[in-house]
């Protein structure tokens, strides 16, 4: 055995540690992979050993290898082993590895739950810290559910180091287990006011993240954040708070105004890029933009970038103020830094107007030419298209210009975005009717020069535009000037090198072209020309029939047959054109992309129902013909349906037209509001045809869009002149009246009339389309679950799950109060006076619920009463908490009820009563503060009217006084924060009484005032403080007990009570219950007991039972306490 151990340690000496591994990898540069696989084999061997140090070392090395990209998930179990090491040095290695490689899919992760819980509650803060850090990386929904309560408890840990981590982890827990958000939120809110700035900052971080999802919930926190913002000196926190306000201000406009001042200060002090985000006020927006301009002009590239970034945020809300800095932003397009250029581009998108669109795009076109990197150039291209097409081509006044821009863009080599350009061409040509003629001529030119576009294989992306060109030329062939020429271009052999889907479109559209040429020739009587064109088709089409692409081949052979047939007819001199053209009659309207989705499900149609019963396996084959026959019958009847509904259809069509007419977003084709521009001289004057024929046709490289820019400018100028003329006339007529207005007149957006009657056809939607905005919501959004209303009060069911054990350890969980409270309240039920007790029980339960709040109150207050005379050990304290909750005690008063109560062993609370109300109360030692006890008072309204504005007052005595809110005098009462409805309920109020010294019992007289309209009632009652009130049940181990007795500085006293008949067991239980003691040891009829006062005095008892008597020897560090206690005990025992 010993030999084995020695051998093991020698082996370990040769084990590589992390440093050796790193060195080794560096020394094996040539065969790194081989070396590492060798190392992994070694590690596997090491992991098989029992020694935890060896395992930890192996896992540490694995973590390094994982960083290099090696999968180490196979070692997951070993990692868990190392995580559960008791030594922190090993444990952290385990957690590090786990945080690097565990994730939701790791199946062994569920094995860690208990280990993590243990580490979370470890007395060593670093154990807890490392567990929290690890958890943040691999928390799963299961872990989140099981550990939520533990982490929430840690949010109130004594060490800020733990608190801040726990607060941050809670965010992950919320994400994985959204049910935890509502129960945990109050505590999270509390953390905003944590004394430690680190914890504060963590809470701000979490709430900031949460507020992104549902800002409304956090509006109530605004004052708190406001305070934080003005007081915090931590820039990181400030940034977060400002972000948060950014989300809140849209919901509460008043906030914006309030924020101006502090923010202006901040802007002057720091460069917080997000300050700009939300200021609603014009003055400060101007200030912001000016500050940002300084940033953007700065030579530091980082500042420049951040300035642009912030600018884009302002742009969303205040486009006007940013637009004035267009020069600066255009300048940034020249920056050598791509990040900055991209930002500037982003800004431009929002800055365009009808007025400056052409200018901006012209600038961008220059950059497209200059751009070197394809990524940036592609970005430019998409931006140009985005800018122009935004909000339904809102800013385009001249579509000829836009088409020519698109055509110019086709010169881009190697762009990925050919399809984008193509889509734009199609969209414009289809939707802007007025532009079709021009578009067709341009597309014809593109087809003619297809060899330039398609020649280079590198330019593959751009050949997509030919798809659009071919389709447009075919579909709108009636606008073509030189259809023959275009047809020929489309039949060139070179076309067969294009991608299949483009060829297919070519084939289809050359028939359309052919049809229109045919018609044209027939109409003009040129029979020979018509036959020629047919011949051409028959000659050239076979090259497509041979295509490898199935679609092309099929279409081509189909069409070839058709044309051969036409040729036959032509030879017979039958006019065919009308029939051929009929093949393509009718107009295709654009359909909205979401149209399909929005078709409403007709009434009575269940999409999930089976149309036919699903075929069962047992069905024999004989039945099949039957079904087919049946089907056919059905189909017949379906065919008939449309005929029957012809009227109905007409009616619907009418209704739809009506609806469209009423829909402001539907751009109608005839009575367009823009129609009036048709009459202005600017409309028809552009000699479209002349330009495209004279300038660019054969040279596609020429930048023609410039021509249109010039023309457009001229047109606008003309327009303006004319308008001015009109205005002058008006001016003469109404002299002086609108003097100022006219002199200030500048060319505004609205003054620029579009060059065309721009009839942008809207995309078609199905009839009765469902209006829904849901399309935009992403159902996969992981944050969606956090969209929870936090303002609703917490329901009883909304509690974090608490893990419970079946055995007594249960009591050690600090949050298991609820079940205990029930246990307690059940006890008295066995006795008489049931209904009364029930009421009390109710009160009891409520009391328990309130207790939590109460304790927190005390905590805050306790800081003011730091008269701690004795320090308690922390552990003891936490144990106290549980046990004391279990036991109850009471003292009595002289009222009639109390006499009755006196007979009830377990009946709590002495009472004071009057005609109006009954009072019961309970006193308990305060766990948080050793000089305080908590008094819970239950009111029961016995009158028939409401009890309103109640007030509780306590006359302070020498050794007790009530804790009052700061600022109130000794004579002030505490208002009871509720009204009491007649008859029914008892309520609980707790007031805090500070017992400055604990000697014996004492009484304190209190009064309850009640103002109800005119009546003023006063209910006096006395609080009797028994010694037991100051005792806290504390467990004690026998060795500690022995030591205590040996120490000798305890006072001693004893009593003896005769006539005891109950069993010893029962007797001990009574002492435990009434006097808050716990049994240390019991031997036969002799037991030692222990308790502790809230001020830390130890009380030891030795209870011996004789034949008929009981003797109690007590030892205590305070003699008065002991004697008073024994007196009380004597009384209790004598009742037995």
């Amino acid at each position: 055995m010993a030999l084995k151990m020695v051998k093991g340690s020698i082996d370990r000496m040769f084990d590589k540690n992390l440093q050796d591994l790193v060195r080794g990898i560096r020394n094996h540069k040539e065969d790194e992979a081989k070396y590492i696989s060798q190392c992994i084999d070694e590690i596997k061997q090491e992991l098989k050993q029992d020694n935890i140090a060896v395992k930890a070392n192996a896992v540490c090395k694995l973590t390094y290898l994982q960083m290099l990209g090696y999968d180490i998930s196979w070692a997951a179990f070993n990692i868990i082993e190392v995580m559960s090491a008791s030594k922190f040095t090993f444990k952290r290695i385990g957690y590090l590895a786990a945080s690097q490689c565990f994730h939701e899919g790791t199946d062994v992760i569920m094995l860690t739950t208990n280990q993590i819980r243990k580490d979370l509650s470890s007395p060593n803060q670093y154990d807890t810290g490392v567990a929290l850090t690890g958890l943040s990386c691999f928390v799963t929904p299961d872990l989140a559910r099981d550990l939520a309560n533990d982490i929430m408890t840690l949010m109130s840990h004594t060490k800020p180091y733990i608190r801040k981590k726990a607060v941050l982890i809670m965010y992950k827990v919320f994400l994985k287990y959204p049910e935890s958000l509502r129960p945990a939120f109050p505590r999270l809110k509390e953390k905003l006011e944590d004394p430690d700035p680190g914890v504060q900052s963590a809470a701000v971080n979490v709430i900031c993240e949460l507020a992104r999802r549902n800002p409304k919930n956090y509006l109530s926190l605004a004052p708190l954040f406001f305070k934080l913002m003005t007081s915090s000196t931590n820039n990181w926190v400030l940034i977060k708070i400002i972000k948060l306000f950014g989300a809140l201000t849209p919901l509460e406009p008043r906030l914006g105004k309030k924020l101006i001042e502090p923010l202006t200060n901040l802007i002057h002090r720091y460069v917080t890029t997000n300050t700009a985000l939300f200021i609603q006020h014009c003055a400060s927006i101007q200030l912001c933009v000016q500050k940002l301009r300084i940033l953007i002009e700065d030579s530091d590239q980082n500042l420049k970038y951040l300035g642009l970034l912030a600018m884009s945020k302002i742009l969303k809300t205040h486009p006007k103020s940013v637009q004035s800095h267009k020069d600066l932003i255009l300048q940034c397009l020249d920056d050598k830094d791509e990040s900055i250029r991209l930002r500037a581009l982003d800004l431009l998108y929002g800055m365009v107007s009808k007025k400056n669109l052409m200018e901006i795009v012209k600038k961008l076109m220059i950059h497209v030419d200059k751009a070197e990197g394809t990524t940036y150039r592609d970005e430019l291209l998409t931006k140009i298209i985005d800018i122009c097409s935004q909000s339904n081509y809102q800013y385009i006044t001249n579509f000829e210009w836009y088409i020519s821009i698109l055509v110019e863009l086709t010169r881009l080599e190697g762009t990925r975005h050919g399809h984008l350009i193509a889509a734009q061409m199609l969209d414009v040509a289809i939707r802007v009717k007025a532009i079709r003629k021009f578009a067709v001529s341009q597309m014809a030119m593109l087809l003619d020069n297809a060899h330039l576009i398609a020649s280079n294989t590198q330019r593959n992306g751009i050949c997509e535009v030919l798809y659009a060109a071919a389709w447009i030329c075919g579909e709108f062939s009636e606008h073509l000037e030189e259809a023959n020429q275009t047809l020929e271009a489309m039949l060139r052999p070179k076309v067969t090198t294009l991608p299949g889907h483009i060829q297919a479109v070519y084939v289809q559209n050359m028939v359309k072209l052919y049809a229109s040429i045919l018609q044209q020739k027939e109409q003009s009587g040129e029979k020979e020309a018509a036959q020629e064109i047919t011949q051409l088709m028959i000659e050239r089409l076979p090259q497509f029939v041979q295509s490898a692409d199935l679609e092309v081949q099929e279409r081509a052979s189909c069409i070839l047959q058709l044309i051969k047939y036409i040729q036959k007819l032509q030879i017979k001199e039958v006019p065919v054109a009308e029939e051929v053209i009929a093949l393509f009659a009718g107009e295709l309207n654009p359909v909205a992309p979401k149209a399909q989705k929005k078709v409403p499900v007709p009434e009575g149609l269940d999409l999930d129902a089976w149309i036919n019963e699903p075929p069962s396996d047992s069905e024999s084959e004989d039945e099949k013909p039957k079904t087919i026959f049946h089907d056919e019958e059905q189909r017949h009847s379906r065919h008939k349906q449309p005929e029957i509904d012809e009227e109905e259809l007409a009616r619907r069509r009418e209704a739809r037209k009506q609806e469209q007419a009423n829909n402001p977003f539907y751009i109608k084709s005839s009575p367009s509001p823009q129609k009036r521009y048709q009459d202005t001289p600017g409309v028809e004057h552009i000699p479209v045809v002349q330009i495209d024929l004279s300038v660019p046709l054969k040279v596609p490289g020429m930048p023609m869009s410039d021509q249109y820019v010039k023309l457009e400018e001229e047109r606008r100028h003309k327009q303006k002149l004319e308008k001015d003329k009109k205005k002058k006339k008006q001016k003469k007529e109404k002299r002086g009246k609108h003097h100022r207005h006219n002199s200030l007149h500048t060319e505004s957006e609205e003054d620029i009339a579009p060059a065309h009657h721009v009839d942008i056809i809207t995309e078609e939607m199905p009839e009765n389309a469902l209006p829904s905005d849901e399309d935009d919501k992403d159902s996969n959004d992981p944050y969606k679950a956090l969209d929870i209303d936090l303002d609703k009060p917490l329901a009883d069911s909304e509690k974090l799950p608490v893990q419970r054990h079946r055995n007594a350890e249960d009591l050690k969980s600090p949050d298991s109060e609820a079940p205990l409270a029930e246990k307690k309240s059940k006890k008295p039920k066995k006795k008489e006076k049931k209904h009364k007790e029930k009421e009390r029980d109710k009160g009891k339960k409520k009391e328990k619920e309130k207790k939590v709040v109460e304790e927190e109150e005390e905590k805050k207050k306790s800081s003011k009463h730091k008269k701690k005379k004795h320090k308690k050990e922390k552990e003891e304290k936490s144990k106290d908490k549980k046990k004391s909750k279990k036991k109850h005690h009471h003292s009595e008063e002289e009222t009639t009820e109390s006499v009755q109560n006196g007979t009830l062993d377990d009946e709590p609370l002495p009472v004071s009563s009057s005609a109006l109300a009954t009072l019961t109360y309970d006193i308990q030692g305060n766990l948080q503060n050793d000089s305080q006890v908590t008094v819970s008072v239950i009111f029961e309204n016995k009158s028939t009217s409401f009890l309103k504005s109640m007030e509780l007052n306590v006359l302070d005595s020498l050794n007790t006084k009530m804790i009052r809110p700061e600022g109130s005098s000794v004579h002030d009462g505490i208002p009871v924060p509720f009204q009491l409805p007649p008859g029914m309920t008892s309520f609980v109020l707790s007031s805090l009484i500070c017992a400055c010294s604990v000697g014996g019992g004492g009484t304190s007289s209190c009064c309850l005032g009640n103002d109800e309209g005119s009546t003023h009632e006063k209910l006096d009652f006395k609080l009797h403080f028994s010694c037991a009130s100051y005792l806290i049940t504390t467990p004690c181990y026998s060795d500690a007990f022995a030591k205590l007795l040996e120490s000798g500085d305890l006072h001693m006293s004893s009593i003896k009570v005769d006539g005891i008949s109950i069993s010893f067991q029962h007797l001990l239980a009574k002492i435990c219950f009434h006097h808050h003691f716990s049994v240390v040891e019991r031997v036969d009829s002799c037991a030692s007991m222990y308790s502790r006062s809230i001020q830390g005095h130890h009380v030891c008892l030795l209870v011996k039972k004789g034949e008929n008597s009981v003797s109690v020897d007590g030892k205590c560090s305070d003699s008065t306490l002991l004697s008073n206690l024994l007196d009380e005990m004597k009384e209790t025992l004598s009742k037995c």
């Binding site: 540490c60 960083m67 590090l96 943040s136 990386c137 801040k164 982890i169 971080n205 980082n302 951040l306």
Partner: protein, 144 residues
Amino acid sequence: MIKFFLMVNKQGQTRLSRYYEHVEIHKRTMLEAEVIKNCLSRSKDQCSFIEYKDFKLVYRQYAALFVVVGINETENEMAVYELIHNFVEVLDKYFSRVSELDIMFNLDRVHIILDEMVLNGCIVETNRNRILAPLFVLDKVAEN
């Protein structure tokens, strides 16, 4: 929120990686390679922010080592930029003039430092002494 924190050298070798959201291991290597490619392609007089896919990279170069942080749109670029320097300063203090080798040999310790500063994708601590406190405790334990 911070999505990942990387230290990569000029040769493209990862020296430290921490992901605050799970990323598949093979995707990590790809991502790291692309990230460093992006950083290397930039000159020193260009800004420290790169828009990359759906997040932003904030990077700083120290000798041959790049510290690159991937963030989403809710994070403040400047704050992260300063965080990087803060991190390097802490390393510098702990290792007294930190070098790439220090980081490689003491990967676990560097992780502790990082975990003290960034938790769950949020900046949690920036005070040098408080960051190093746990590490000093650990070193003391190791000595004994």
